[in-house]
Subunit: 138 residues, 2 copies
DNA sequence: CTTTGTGCAAATTCTTTGCACCAAA
DNA sequence: TTTGGTGCAAAGAATTTGCACAAAG
């Protein structure tokens, strides 16, 4: 556990984010729960151990992380923003049944190549698929 | 103008959507303004010619269109849903400066191939890029 | 001390819902 | 006359903002 906190702290430092109890907790959660959580999921998970925690702080923290490039904000789920600490090139799949977001890593890497098109300067790409996962297929 | 209305009507019929003044107006707008408009943009544009029009009807109409497969709902813009009447395979680009969503058609068509991965049944793909357009580059 | 972070409450924004009225077949 | 469509007002849900207090250096 202490080890994880150190790992989370180092991750923050890597992105020049000043550590705090709350920031470390959020980063630690993201590093150990790569489920592309929503703000609510993070809040519900961390609340018991940090009873004074507020959602505002989670929003502040995640916005800061995103600004600093430490997390990627996914728009695959229209209802809530989802946060991914894995910023490497990979696609996502959201299941219409359970709403879970899965990583798709076994994908033709060519599709992550940022195109070069006159008149556009590209920052980032998001590749999302919708469908049904095996759990929900019955 | 009458010609456009006929075109919009035929489009509705193609997707088994019963026409109404409002539905025709929304479809006509989508067909002639391929800017991936938000509900608000549609509302503001159509209000003058249909003064009794309500946003609820636009929501109802677009949800119906999406269910019937007549439009695609884009999640590229975290703030609002955007609607695209062009349901062919193409990617989108959103400019951080002006917020406009552009079609990217000159893209390697391979990236639109739906992958085959055990445990997932794919319905649709959305490929989105973020960056800055030439207008906003200064 | 001074700066920065946290968290409550309120405000904002987008979207959906309940329900009464209207329109078309 | 019956079914479905429209639109107002209200509710709901996600996120942001303003501000006072707490923490850290």
């Amino acid at each position: 556990m202490t080890k994880n906190i150190v790992q989370a702290q180092q991750h923050l430092l890597k992105y020049s984010i000043k550590p705090s109890v709350q920031r470390i907790a959020v980063m630690n959660f993201l590093l150990n729960n790569k489920i592309h959580p929503t703000v609510d999921e993070i809040y519900i998970s961390l609340s018991p151990s940090i009873p004074t925690l507020s959602k505002t702080t989670i929003y502040n923290t995640l916005n800061l992380f995103a600004e600093k490039g430490a997390v990627r904000v996914l728009s695959i789920d229209e209802k809530n923003a989802r946060y991914d600490v894995d910023i490497s090139a990979h696609a996502h799949f959201i299941c219409k049944g359970c709403g879970k977001v899965h990583d798709l890593t076994d994908i033709n890497p060519d599709i992550f190549k940022i195109p070069e098109i006159k008149g556009f300067s590209f920052d980032s790409a998001e590749i999302s698929y919708r469908g049904t996962c095996s759990n929900c297929m019955n």
